[in-house]
C-alpha cells in the first residue's frame, strides 16, 4: 500500500470512529493515529457501531471471541493494520 493509500485509509477509519462515537469524540483527537480510542471516549456502544462500520465499509468481519488480544481496536493505526491484513471485497 502506498503512503497516499495508507493516509487515505487512516482518514476513512478516523471518520468511521467519529461517526461510531456519535460525534462525542473531538476530531482533533483522531488526528493522532496512536491515540487510545478508549481514553478519548469510545464506549462499548461506539465500538459496536465501529465494528458494524468496518464490516460494511471494508468487508472485514471481526469475531471478538476469536481474537485473544483486542488491542488491534485500540488505535486508528492498529485498526488500519488489522483491516489491511483481513480486508475482503470493499463495499
Amino acid at each position: 500500500m502506498s503512503e497516499d493509500d495508507l493516509s487515505a485509509m487512516k482518514k476513512r477509519v478516523a471518520r468511521l470512529v467519529y461517526i461510531a462515537a456519535g460525534g462525542k469524540i473531538d476530531e482533533k483527537d483522531l488526528e493522532r493515529p496512536d491515540t487510545d480510542l478508549r481514553e478519548i471516549g469510545l464506549d462499548s456502544l461506539g465500538y459496536l457501531n465501529l465494528l458494524e462500520g468496518l464490516e460494511r465499509t471494508f468487508g472485514v468481519s471481526i469475531d471478538l471471541d476469536q481474537e485473544e488480544d483486542h488491542s488491534f481496536l485500540h488505535t486508528i493505526d492498529n485498526i488500519v493494520c488489522y483491516v489491511t491484513a483481513h480486508r475482503g471485497a470493499p463495499a
Partner: protein
Amino acid sequence: MSSILARGAIRDAMVDCLGRHDGRKAVVGAESLGYGELAGRVDDAADWLCAVLPGDEAGRRSRKHLGFCLGNRVEYVILYFAALYAGDLPLLLDANFNTGEIEAIRSDCGLDALLIEPSKAAKIEVPGKGDPIPFADEVVLLPLSQVAPPRFEPRVSTEVCRFTSGTTGRPKCLEFSGHAVVSAAKNWILGTGMRGEDRTLCLAALSNGLAFNTSLLSSFLAGGELHFLKGAPLTRPVARWIEELGITRLVAFPTLYRNFVAPGGPDRAAMASLEHAISAGAPLWPDVREEFRVRYGLDISDYYGIAETGPCTFERDARHHSGLGVPLPGAEIRIAPGPGDPGTGEILVRTASMASGYLNHPGLFEGRLDADGFYHSGDRGRLVDGRLHLVGRTEDHINVAGRKIDPTEVVAVVSALPGVADAVAFPDEDLNREVLVHLAVVAGSADLTRAAVAEACRSRLAPYKVPGRISFVPEIPRTGIGKPRIAVLREQLNASRKESPS
C-alpha cells in the same frame, strides 16, 4: 439429584417446568442443553456452591449473597437457578459495575462472593478479596470475606435483587419476592402469547429488567428455548443465528434495530422465522420502526416496563403502530391528573410483579406508592383506547441505553474535584441520536482541564455513566431556589456552539 432442600417460589416453578419439559431443548449459547441436562447441571452447581461456600462446623449454612457480575451465557442461567436451589440470594449486578459500585453494594447489602469473568476478577480491588475458584472456562467465583456487617438485611421473602442507579455511586438494590418474579414471567407468557415452540434470542443483559422478565424464567415456564449470542451483537451474526436456529423472538435494544435498517443490513430472508421483535430499554426511533416494518415485514413491539414494577404493557395487535400497547395481565395503569393536556399526567402502575422495596433505601419505594398501592413512575403519559402513550418524564433521570442515571451521582463525583465551582448533568443526544450524559462545568481554577474532569468520571463511575459531552460554562443558570434551569443552559450552549462551530 442435589441434596439441597431450599424452597422458594422461583425454585419450585423451575423444578416443575424442568420436569415437565424434559426431552426438549432449553438453553443454547456456547453449548446447548436440554431441560433434563439443565436440571442436572443446576443441581450439580447448587452442590458446588455449598461446597465452595460452606456453613459452620456444626453444618449450619447461612444464606449467601452472590453477586452476578457476568454477561449473558449458559453458565449464568445454571448458576442463577443453582443459587436459588442452594437457598442463596442472587444479586444481579450490571456487568459494567466498577470496584466502587461493587464495594458500595457489599457495604450496603452484603456480598459473600462474586460470579465473574476471570479477567475482571483480577481487576476488582476490594478488601477481603479471596482467590478465584473456577466454575467454567470463563466464569469464576470470587470469595469476598465480609470486612464489616452489611448495613441492611434483606426481607425473608426476597429471592432476587436487581439494581437501579442511585445517588453518590450507591446503586439502589431492589428486592423481589419469588412470587413477584414468577408472576412477571407467567403474565408475560399470557400477555404476549409465548409458546413452547418459541425460540427467544436475548441480546439484552440478564441483569436488565427487560431480559430478566421477558426471557430468563418465562422461556422455561413456557417450555421454549432461550438463546444467547456468542460474541458482540452485530447485525450479521445476529441474522445468521436467527436464520440458522429458527429464532421466533428477538429481545434487543433500539441501537441494534437501527443498525439492522442501515444500508447494507441483513436480507429479509434471514429474518423469516421471526414472529416478535421486542425493543425496550430506551425509546425506539419512529423512523427505525417504520423502516424495519418495510424491510422485514414485521412490527417491532415496544414494551413498557419499570425496574420497580416489572413489565407493564405490550402491543400484540399488529394493526397498532403507535403507543406502547395495553396493560399485561396482572398490571393496572392509572394516569394521575396533572397540569397541561387533560388526560395526560404521571403514569401510576400496580402489578403482581412489584418489588418489595429498596434494600438499601428503606421507605423510599413505599413513599412512591399511593393509598391504593400504585407506584408513581415518574413518567408522563396518557391512555388512548386503553393503550399507553408515553409523552415524557416528570423527573430528572437520564436514560442511557435503558440504564437510568441519577444526574446527581455524576455531579457528586465532579464536584469533589479541586477547581470545580459548580456543575450540572443533563440528558443530551449524540449524532446517532443516542442519549448521552452532558456535563456542564464552571471552573473555579484555570488549572481545571476537560481531561481531568473526564478522568475523574472514568475512574469513579461505570462506563455508561461517564459524560459523553463536557462543556465549560461561565455560570449555570439557576432558579431562585437553586434548581438548574436546563432549558436556559441548553439555549446558551447551542448559541455558543453556533458562534464557534469548530
